[in-house]
């Protein structure tokens, strides 16, 4: 599976919501094949009987009470970086034509 085509990269870019230009597409296609070929060596590692690791602390179900904690800022403070705000809500472009 080491060969990644230009169409594959285009599809990945669409999935990742990145509008690549033509020259970027060519460059990434070349680089991805080398990177994927390198990481494919993992497939030769013998792992029978082993479980995958997704975290290393051993913590399980860290719960807290469902209560409001005051951290010194208000909801409105979190809107200060939003490009477009309308009536204290985040305004976005039309999604359905």
């Amino acid at each position: 599976m080491a060969q990644i085509s230009r169409d594959d990269v285009l599809k990945l870019a669409r999935l990742a919501r990145i509008d690549l230009d033509e020259s970027e597409l060519d460059k990434f296609t070349e680089e991805f094949s080398a990177i994927i070929k390198y990481v494919e060596q993992l497939q030769s590692v013998e792992v029978s009987g082993l479980e995958p690791t997704s975290q290393v602390t051993g913590l399980k179900n860290v719960m807290r009470k469902d209560e409001v904690i005051d951290y010194g800022y208000k909801g409105r403070d979190l809107l200060q970086n939003v490009p477009a705000v309308d009536n204290d809500q985040i305004k976005v472009k039309r999604m359905i034509a």
């Binding site: 990644i4 594959d8 990145i18 991805f32 995958p52 860290v62 970086n81 999604m95």
Partner: protein, 486 residues
């Protein structure tokens, strides 16, 4: 050459007292926090050519210093870091100031809240004076991947400082402040500390809260200090460590704390990792490390060789797990809630896609797409699940090694700092630079880089690793090792 010698002398002359001593003198009124802040700001201004710093926080720092000085004049006990200036990597949120992660997509983003690590340092009287340069989103090993230009190595301005915490490492070595904060997902504290010539601590996974630090790969991300001595790094860790309700992966701190570095190397078993000392390592680096081992042996350490046979596979596992998590974490940069937004989008899809194309640099795009690929249906088992299972195998090998020895030893990088621009257009070649640091992140164990000496005028660091949760023991041994090779 005259210039170079001047620089070396300046680098080796202490501009700052040990952190604990600064805090004591500020508390006693012998030193003023306001003067320390000015001293730090002046050093930053004098060393602009190294581009270690992206922004200074003068107004905020001066006002905090005045407050601390007046609290002390009023008889108040300020804390373990009273008046101590520090520099934070620009992926830490500092309330009310710009945090960019050195990326265009976050340019102008003003932090509406603050990292827990910064809160804890400030609660003990420390003062954040500036934000340090990094590879954008901490993706990189040279700091050349900053969207705002590279940082330069304090020992040779034509060379890279290492990365991604290259600005933090250079800042500490240039003595712009007594310490700096960095983040380490695959070596980003240890490798620049090694290449620029300071101490860099990557704590056990979960020991220091990542709340308010721009996320990269959440199962690997850690934050920690860079400093000129192990004692200083230990004190900073001591202030930051412990459970935080805002980061549910955090673990309990050691009840004995992290600042007792007493003891000796006598009888301590140190395992030299065979897989890291072989042909991939440049002979000049190996020479410095072997000389350090000889001195540690003379101080009573028991040096043995150990093998972790799956380590050569760690990099491949890392470059699947890391991009997978990056693709997930960076999905939040969509131009709708914060950061850059493409102004002329016709619809929401175009707003996402153009914002992300223009806002992200090449490496962020590369990692997002590689991550998207390895997580996509049909490839998930072959890549992501296999990488996670290899991760288990690597953890088992670390555990087995720590049955035989107390600490592990190795380099941080295959070579000393290379020239700026030497490796820029080959991503895989740059990934290979991480080969001696990523396994520690996969295993979640603590590791520290300590200066071991110079080779042809460039710093070489040695990496010491301990079992998960043994951060205090690691710091004590690092101090003893550093004393032994001095």
């Amino acid at each position: 050459m005259a210039n170079l010698l001047q620089t070396l002398e300046a680098l080796e002359t202490d501009m700052w007292l040990p952190i604990a001593e600064i805090a004591r003198k500020v508390q006693s009124g012998e030193l003023k926090a306001a003067d320390l802040v000015e001293k730090s700001l002046a050093a930053i201004a004098d060393n602009g050519e190294y581009h270690a710093v992206l922004a200074t926080l003068e107004t905020r720092a001066r006002s905090r210093a005045r407050q601390i000085d007046s609290d002390i004049a009023g008889g108040k006990e300020v804390g373990a870091l009273a008046g101590v200036p520090f520099i934070a990597k620009d992926n830490f949120l500092v309330f009310g100031t710009e945090t960019t992660a050195a990326s265009n997509i976050l340019k102008g983003f003003e932090a509406p809240y603050q990292a827990t690590a910064i809160n804890r340092l400030e609660a003990q009287g420390a003062i954040c004076v500036a934000k340090a340069n990094l590879d954008a989103f901490a993706h990189g090993t040279t700091t050349e991947n900053s969207d705002f230009g590279p940082t330069k190595n304090p020992y040779d301005i034509e060379r890279i400082p290492g990365g991604s915490s290259g600005g933090s490492a250079a800042a500490v070595v240039l003595q712009l402040a007594p310490f700096a904060l960095g983040s380490d997902t695959g070596g980003s504290i240890r490798q620049p500390a090694s290449m620029s010539g300071c101490v860099g601590l990557k704590p056990s996974y979960g020991l220091v809260s990542r709340s308010g630090v721009v996320a990269m790969a959440s199962s690997l991300d850690t934050v920690g200090p860079l400093a000129r001595t192990v004692e200083d790094a230990a004190l900073v860790l001591d202030v930051m460590a412990g459970v935080d309700a805002l980061d549910s992966t955090t673990v309990e701190r050691n009840p004995a704390g992290y600042t007792n570095l007493e003891g000796s190397l006598q009888g301590k078993r140190i395992g030299v990792i065979e897989e890291y000392m072989g042909e991939g390592l440049q002979p000049n680096v190996k020479q410095v490390l072997e000389a350090a081992l000889d001195k540690m042996k003379a101080a009573g350490a028991v040096i043995e060789t150990v093998s972790l046979p799956s380590l050569p596979m760690a990099l491949a596992a890392y470059y699947i797990i890391c991009p997978a998590e990056v693709s997930s974490n960076l999905s939040r940069f969509d131009g709708q809630r914060y950061g850059y937004t493409y102004p002329d989008a016709k619809d929401l899809h175009e707003s996402f896609a153009k914002t992300r194309d223009i806002g992200f640099g090449k490496e962020a795009k590369r990692r997002i797409m590689i991550g998207t690929y390895v997580l996509s249906s049909g490839y998930y088992d072959a890549y992501y699940k296999q990488a996670q299972t290899v991760r288990t195998k690597i953890i088992n090998e670390f555990n087995a090694a720590f049955e035989k020895v107390d600490f592990l030893f190795g380099p941080n990088a295959p070579s000393t700092a290379f020239k700026l621009g030497e490796i820029v257009d080959d991503p895989l070649q740059l990934y290979l630079e991480d080969i001696m640091t990523v396994a520690v992140n996969l295993a979640g164990v603590p590791a520290i880089s300590v200066p071991a000496g110079l080779s042809a005028g460039l710093p070489v660091g040695m990496q010491l690793m301990a079992p998960q949760g043994y951060d205090a023991e690691l710091l004590a041994t690092a101090k003893q090792a550093k004393d032994a090779i001095a």
